[in-house]
């Protein structure tokens, strides 16, 4: 494998997303201000109930991590479908680099762009809603955050090939993976409230355990609302990330082979 070629390809594909985050500030309205309205609604809801202050923090953190989930759905899973429509996909497939480099570039660029948005949400949470975090285990927190992103974007890479194979029906999958996932992963409340069976089932989505573990570490006063021990959640997330990435690679190879056999990936009339 030509490492330099693939590293350059990763950098090349990440570039448009990095530029997109910096060049066109209109995203501030759509991706920070508007989502903050729903976050604000939950915060005022908890305030009206005199719920512990940590619950308001849960909502802000849920909003931050959901930003990444949205990027996984719309910027990763659906992306190859878009690339096919614009004609980029056939150029990627005919180029000499590993196609995993393209997915990795999309993921890294997406993480960069989304982090800019996520940080904006944290700032609003801290300065407007006066949310305070306690960083008691910084290394564990960073490790859980990174592995959660790895597993989530690994899932997005996997979906990218699947969505392409499913064609237009894939759009319905995005709807399925959006609102219901907000609910079962506990975007605005601790997932433990759903009971162990649902919480366990929801753990298939890396967002669930990542969010739960980070909430326990950032709001230790409310650690009793945690579903599993953060160390155990980190372990599960590590296994999940490896599985997602391996499956993403396998599905990508399958998608490319199938595309060459049927012509459906490059012949638009097909």
């Amino acid at each position: 494998m030509n490492i330099m070629l693939n590293l350059r390809a990763v950098r090349g594909r990440a570039y448009p997303r990095v530029i997109g985050a910096l060049r066109e500030p209109s995203w501030m309205l759509w991706e920070v201000v508007l989502p903050m309205l729903s976050i604000a609604a939950f915060i005022y809801f908890y305030r009206s109930l005199n719920a512990p202050k940590e619950f308001e923090g849960f909502v802000v953190l849920g909003g931050v991590m959901t930003t990444y989930w949205l990027n996984v759905l719309w910027g990763m899973a659906s992306q190859f479908y878009w690339e096919k429509e614009t004609g980029n996909l056939q150029l990627y497939l005919a180029a000499p680099m590993s196609k995993m480099s393209i997915l990795a570039g999309m993921a890294l660029g997406g993480i960069f762009g989304t982090t800019v948005r996520a940080v904006s949400i944290i700032f609003i949470g801290v300065f407007v809603f006066e949310i305070s975090f306690v960083i008691s285990h910084p290394f564990l927190l960073v490790a859980i955050f990174m592995v959660t992103l790895l597993a989530m974007y690994g899932m997005g890479m996997m979906f990218a090939s699947l969505y392409l194979l499913w064609g237009r029906e894939a759009w319905n999958m995005n709807a399925l993976f959006q609102e219901p996932i907000y609910f079962i992963t506990g975007q605005n409340f601790p997932v433990k409230a759903l009971g162990p069976t649902v919480a366990m089932a929801a753990s298939v989505i890396p967002l669930t355990l990542g969010l739960d573990a980070m909430r326990q570490l950032l709001f230790p006063e409310a650690a009793g609302w945690g579903f599993l021990d953060p160390m155990l959640e980190l372990g599960i997330l590590c296994v999940s990330a490896v599985i997602m990435l391996v499956m993403a690679r396998q599905l990508l190879a399958f998608m490319e082979r199938k595309g060459r056999e049927t012509g459906k990936l490059t012949m638009r009339w097909q």
Partner: protein, 321 residues
């Protein structure tokens, strides 16, 4: 690579399944393109040109037979083929609209592992050559079709390919851009004897002007192959006439007219511009009287030198448009 064709296919067949039906897009295609050649594939829409290009560019597998690029099998040796080829398609909208021309080109250069400095030099040089220096820092989504196609040409040629596949590269472009692209392709080929271009087009003039050899493809089959001169020689004994008719009339009756080998017709400025290929002069009077009998007024009439379009009409019984 002495003795090895740059592009080669033998008994190449490709079928597609569409709505329960099997469509045979390519039928037993045999093709051999030599190093240094600018080879043209001429045929109407749906003839199989794009399918053939997709197979040679490793995007599609043959159903049967084989295809080779630089001696490598397209089905099994993609890793050897992909670094040395590139492609441009007519009407292509590749890249990302929010990036500038220069940024888009840099991005694509990275997929071929070109070091940043080298990429920059090549991009600047080709931007200059394609006369879009003034557009280099404009976002690509603001470009016209012609300007965009110049960028696509740079994208394909900056990676230093040995073999370039051009699928209708001048489709829908203005005269100046088409001429610029044709001139560049020709010069690029002449700079290095190891380079090869496979061009598909349905513009007769383009094929005639550019190509060393041409294969005429119709309904997935190669129906003729040779230099433009050899192909035109095939109809030197036949008669080709051109005429402008007003008002437009249906020329379907020509199919059954004795001595008529084929015709093509297109609407131009409210008139019908037609070319008819006949076995000899004896059918001319029947054609002319047939037109007037059906209410057509012949505005102009001329006997013409055979063109590639006449070759195509003779071989397939229809025009390219």
């Amino acid at each position: 690579m002495p003795g090895v064709y740059s592009i080669e296919s033998r008994s190449l067949t490709r079928t597609f399944k569409s709505k329960g039906e099997v469509v045979e897009a390519l039928k037993e295609v045999d093709l051999s393109v030599r190093q240094g050649e600018l080879f043209g594939l001429l045929g109407p829409n749906g003839a199989g040109k794009t399918t053939l290009i997709k197979i040679f560019t490793t995007l599609l597998l043959p159903t049967s037979g084989y295809a080779k690029v630089a001696g490598h099998d397209v089905a099994k040796e993609v890793k050897q083929i992909r670094p040395i080829i590139n492609m441009v398609t007519g009407g292509e909208h590749s890249g990302y609209g929010l990036l500038t021309v220069r940024e888009n080109l840099w991005m694509f250069s990275q997929f071929y592992g070109i070091p940043g400095k080298v990429a920059k030099e090549r991009i600047d040089s080709l931007i200059d050559r394609m006369r879009i220096t003034h557009l280099a820092d404009r976002k690509i989504r603001t470009l016209s079709t012609g300007e965009r196609q110049r960028v696509n040409i740079i994208r394909a040629f900056m990676t230093g390919p040995k073999i370039v596949f051009l699928d209708e590269p001048t489709l829908g472009l203005d005269v100046e851009t088409s001429r610029l692209i044709r001139r560049y392709v020709k010069e690029w080929l002449e700079q290095d004897g190891e380079r090869t271009v496979l061009l598909t087009t349905h513009y007769m003039m383009e094929a005639d002007e550019l190509c060393d050899r041409i294969a005429i493809i119709n309904d997935g089959e190669i129906v003729a192959l040779g230099t433009p001169r050899e192909l035109k020689k095939r109809i030197q004994d036949e008669t080709a006439i051109g005429m402008e008719i007003s008002p437009e009339i249906d020329l379907g009756w020509l199919d059954g007219t004795k001595g008529v080998m084929g015709y093509s017709a297109k609407e131009e400025g409210g008139m019908l511009s037609a070319r008819v290929v006949m076995e000899d002069d004896s059918a001319v009077s029947d054609v002319l009287s047939g037109v007037t009998a059906r209410g057509g007024r012949i505005i102009s009439f001329y006997k013409d030198e055979p063109t590639l379009e006449d070759v195509f009409v003779k071989l397939t019984g229809r025009g390219l448009e």
